[in-house]
């Protein structure tokens, strides 16, 4: 009985409905949270005693960095599910998530680099976290490049899944090696986000931003998967019916 949910999840039609019911409120809630978090972080949160106001970049840097990493984990979970249970929808998740992950990774890198200017005095420092982030960006770009090189087929799904899994096994190794390399080449001064103990006035808005970003991401993935479903199930009768009725009302 418990597993009916799981099998339903494999059904694109079921997911199309469920995602359709939830993406809108998720998006609205995320926009509200992101606005609250941004204003709170920029206006009301206190200044950092060491970094001054430049510390406020944290409210953008940390959520995007967390999301960039957990997005890859989500893709890896989807890849494993796709390979083991042959779920078609798993690949659609990867298809929807990869560009988002790349975008968030880029944003985390960008904010990190800009934050580095007032903190370290240069736009780019070969800091362990930033470098690992850069490698992560290339992993995302690799997944996207592989997908675009193969035409839509069973093979593309499996190739992507294998590549994502290879990547996820490598991520901890890469992280460890980059951290090791960093201690070798430059004695750790102080990392951007490492703080002894953040007072609640500082971390509560950060939490709001993180939750908001997660909801934002979820809503985007839902919409992306819905689009993928429409595309791939285009010849199915339920899609025909759906579009025939929808065509008269909205689009």
């Amino acid at each position: 009985m418990k597993w009916t949910f799981f099998h339903k999840l494999g059904s694109p039609r079921w997911f199309y409905d469920i995602a359709g019911r939830h993406y809108a409120w998720l998006m609205m809630l995320s926009v509200v949270l992101l606005c609250i978090g941004t204003i709170w972080g920029l206006v009301f949160a206190p200044e950092d005693y060491q970094q001054g106001n430049s510390f406020r970049i944290i409210y953008l840097h940390v959520p995007t960095a967390i999301l960039a990493q957990s997005c890859y984990m989500m893709m890896a979970t989807a890849a494993l599910t796709g390979l083991v249970w042959k779920m078609k929808i798993a690949d659609m998740f990867i298809a929807a998530a990869a560009p988002l992950g790349a975008a968030f990774t880029f944003l985390a890198l960008f904010t990190g680099a800009v934050w580095g200017k007032p903190t370290w005095g240069t736009w780019w420092v070969w800091d362990a976290r930033l470098t690992a982030m850069l490698v992560l960006l290339f992993l995302y770009l690799g997944v996207m490049a592989l997908r675009s090189a193969i035409e839509y087929s069973d093979m593309r799904e499996k190739s992507t899944a294998i590549l994502v899994l290879v990547g996820v096994i490598n991520i901890p190794i890469i992280k460890y090696s980059v951290e090791w390399w960093n201690t070798l080449h430059q004695p750790a001064t102080f990392t951007l986000t490492e703080k002894p103990a953040m007072p609640p006035e500082m971390w509560v808005p950060l939490l709001v931003m993180v939750i908001g970003s997660y909801l934002f991401f979820t809503s985007l993935v839902f919409q992306g998967v819905r689009n993928e479903i429409l595309q791939r199930e285009a010849r199915k009768s339920w899609v025909k019916k759906l579009l025939a009725t929808e065509g008269s009302t909205s689009d």
């Binding site: 490698v135 690799g142 490049a145 592989l146 499996k158 980059v178």
Partner: protein
């Protein structure tokens, strides 16, 4: 021709299959000798660019030599690995591997190692000569060669995954590098780290151990991914 070979190896233990692959590999490799030399030429060419493009002074070169040699090894391996399984797919060998009743894992592992023997190993053996030209400190040649001996098979095994994933695609070349180069970063870091430590006179056993663990990890895990990708490519093509 290939059918004949398949009949020969069918229902036999693993070893004869491996020797068949070995013979086939070496035969095709030595039939096309130019292809054998190409990665080596590329390797030397890349290293020629740095004194010309950056700085020919011994101070710079000797400081940069470990990194330069390692990067050149990485790039030239990528070049030769891109088409690792392409011929096997085209001449039907891959299909024979699938039906010969032996685990694809071992065949892929073996094929990659043999390929490394005639592409990676020559580069490793050639590296001391280039090290000499780059004013690399004399006492550390053995460490450099050891690091490359452990590291370049890892690169080959990782590259095998990329080659397997792109085997049936027309646009293989640059895609393989794009997929695999990020994954080779740990090898590069520990490999050059080991050489640099040895130059500085610091114990390098830690890096050696890490490099060795990467080697065994790649040896056990990479063929799994390559085999899965190859199987899928053959079944879907």
């Amino acid at each position: 021709m290939t059918d004949h070979r398949a009949n020969q190896v069918n229902d036999k233990p693993l070893l004869p299959v491996l020797t068949t692959i070995f013979k086939h590999e070496l035969m095709t490799a030595f039939q096309n000798r130019q292809q054998l030399v190409n990665p080596l030429i590329f390797f030397v060419l890349v290293l020629l660019l740095f004194p010309l493009g950056v700085d020919p002074s011994p101070q710079f070169l000797s400081a940069a030599a470990p990194g330069l040699i390692w990067v050149a090894v990485l790039l030239s391996s990528m070049l030769s690995l891109g088409t690792l399984f392409k011929d096997d797919l085209q001449d039907g060998s891959l299909e024979q591997w699938l039906v010969c009743g032996q685990p694809l894992y071992f065949l892929v592992l073996f094929k990659t190692i043999v390929h490394w023997l005639y592409t990676g190993l020559p580069i490793v053996l050639f590296s001391p000569l280039l090290a000499l030209m780059l004013h690399f400190p004399m006492d550390n040649y053995s460490v450099l060669v050891l690091s490359l001996l452990l590291g370049s098979p890892v690169i080959a095994l990782l590259g095998g995954i990329g080659a397997a994933l792109t085997v049936s695609l027309r646009s293989g070349g640059i895609l393989v590098s794009l997929l695999i180069l990020p994954l080779t970063i740990p090898v590069l870091i520990f490999g050059t780290g080991m050489v640099l430590a040895s130059i500085d006179g610091v114990p390098f056993m830690g890096q050696l151990a890490l490099l060795a663990s990467l080697f065994f990890l790649a040896l056990t895990l990479c063929p799994l991914a390559s085999a899965a990708a190859l199987k899928m490519s053959v079944l879907n093509s």
